[in-house]
Amino acid sequence: MTKAERIDRIATILILLLALAVVGLVITVLGLILIPGISHISWHFLTSSSQSFETGGGIFDQLFNSFYLVVLTLLISVPLALGAAIYLNEYAKQNWFTDSLRLAIEVLSSLPSIVIGLFGYLVFVLKWGLDFSLLAGALVLTILNLPLLTRTSETALSQVPNLQRQAGLGLGMAKWQVILKIVLPAALPGILTGAILSAGRIFGEAAALIYTAGQSTITVNYQDWNPFSPTSFLNPMRPAETLAVHIWKLNTEGLIPDASAVSSGAAAVLVLTILLFNLGARLIGHLISKRLEK
């Protein structure tokens, strides 16, 4: 065996050992999150309200708030991001203006979430007087979500073959009709996958929310379906602590004796939900693209 071959063999072993160490680390981390957490998850834990001073509290309100906030955010951000992506991919000309818009989106994506949270606190909570509310939280998460969502939607649109557009135009369709009837349906799997993945991301966001959606939750009535009623669970103007914020809050200033058990349970729920979002995104993308192939 030559020297080079010997080095090659030693290096390969070292690399594989390092990679194995990472695998061990990953298993440890996932184990540390899931094992203590899953044992704490029960029907009672998922469906009862949190306690302020006593043990035995659940996470129902926080879990609901997290999902509701994701829905509100997607309601605002998906149309906006989709519109922006359509413009960028179908209409925008190659000039300095388009370039600067792209740059703006890139800058937005690089802003730390705490900075966006503080901006939301200043503008939505204080200046607009929304107070700590679901709406303020949803607006901030929209800002956070827009760059990624715009990018994934644009990628999805750009992957639709140009021949399909030309075929539509050749049949005498207007450009907008081509976009609406041909390009959008073809790009739908990609857009949906991106939206679900982004939902997973905002589901776990906390830093942007502690000064916008607030760190407390009020008692709400889950039978009251009128979103304008102050005690309704759908009221977007109420403060709402999400699951991720709850974990943070419990571990920085929590007063309940079983804070570590509740937070590890909540963390496991959080991670499992995000796993579901990821799997869901894959599944839906897969299903729709299969159906479109037929």
């Binding site: 818009l101 705490i114 907008w176």
Partner: protein, 297 residues
């Protein structure tokens, strides 16, 4: 105009639709652009209050190490240094591990490995930062306490948590960078009699250099801007960092301080100046990434 004239001479239904569609989509992108402008404007405006209105000099803010808002002393140097330190340490520990996984997955192990680890990396990237903070609090801090002494809270725990948090991101980007290297280059190298290790170190890594650097900067930018995970484990004492003791980063001070100060007071303005520095740094990271990609192209 009569009705038939409208049909013949007026714009068609399609043309109106076209205008509306183009208008709506153009409006959405304009709104996003405007939003970014407003965010930057607000943060710069609010962040410069400390220097313009409260009479603190910028140099003092950047270079002084004493942070005592109670005594109207605003020196952010200790936080800036701590932020840079934990970010660098986290990035530099993560890099060799990420490179090793990248090499193992793309160059050594069979292609099926990539299919297996892709969803795992995806999941790890998606784990919220508070969960990493929670692991830090329940596992890392006690271990650091055992090994180094002190309370366990501090820059070591923060670096470890950030390392865990950014490694999946860096790894996934490095794998992409390795895969982007043309297969022909590897074959050519092998054809010249190079061993796999020689091909990796002399062909693949140099070719993927830009991608590796971008991955590292991207990961470090994320670490620099991370607030809660760090705030949970660093101890939050705005003093110069030490091995054993508590410290504070820009983000952790922002997290704890914003709720305890009154808007418009110098103590609050100082926090907004910290936010401005954070913004400035994330722009610098962005610029660095641009520079790397442009140099590659």
């Amino acid at each position: 105009m009569k009705n038939w004239e409208k049909y013949l001479m007026g714009p068609s239904k399609e043309r109106t639709q076209e205008r509306v569609g183009r208008g709506i989509t153009g409006l959405s992108i304009l709104m996003i652009g405007l939003l970014v402008g407003i965010i930057l404007l607000f943060l710069v405006g609010k962040g410069s209050q400390l220097f313009l209105k409260d009479g603190v000099s910028f140099q003092e803010f950047i270079f002084k190490t004493v942070w005592a808002p109670g005594n109207e002393v605003y020196g952010a140097a200790s936080m800036i240094i701590t932020s840079l330190l934990v970010t660098m340490v986290a990035g530099l520990i993560a890099l060799p591990f990420a490179l090793a996984v990248g090499v193992a997955v793309t160059e050594i192990l069979p292609p099926i490995t990539k299919k297996i680890i892709q969803p795992i990396i995806e999941l790890l990237v998606g784990i919220p930062s508070v969960v990493y903070g929670l692991i830090g609090l329940t596992v890392v801090v006690p271990i650091v306490r055992q090994l180094v002494g002190g309370t366990g809270f501090g820059i070591i725990a923060a670096s470890v948590v950030l390392f865990l948090m950014i490694m999946p991101t860096i790894t996934s980007m490095i794998i992409d960078a390795f895969q982007a290297v043309d297969q022909d280059q590897r074959r050519a190298s092998a054809g010249l009699g190079a061993t796999r290790w020689q091909t990796i170190t002399r062909i693949v890594i140099p070719a993927a250099k830009g991608g590796i650097l971008t991955a590292l900067i991207f990961g470090m930018a994320r670490a620099f801007g991370e607030a809660l995970a760090v705030q949970m484990v660093i101890g939050n004492a705005a003093i110069m960092p030490s091995i054993q003791g508590s410290a504070a980063t820009i983000t952790s001070v922002l997290t704890t301080g914003m709720g305890n100060t009154i808007l418009g007071t110098p103590a609050n303005d100082a926090l907004w100046s910290l936010a401005l520095i954070l913004l400035g740094m994330s722009l610098v990271f962005n610029l660095l990434m641009h520079f790397v990609t442009r140099k590659e192209a």
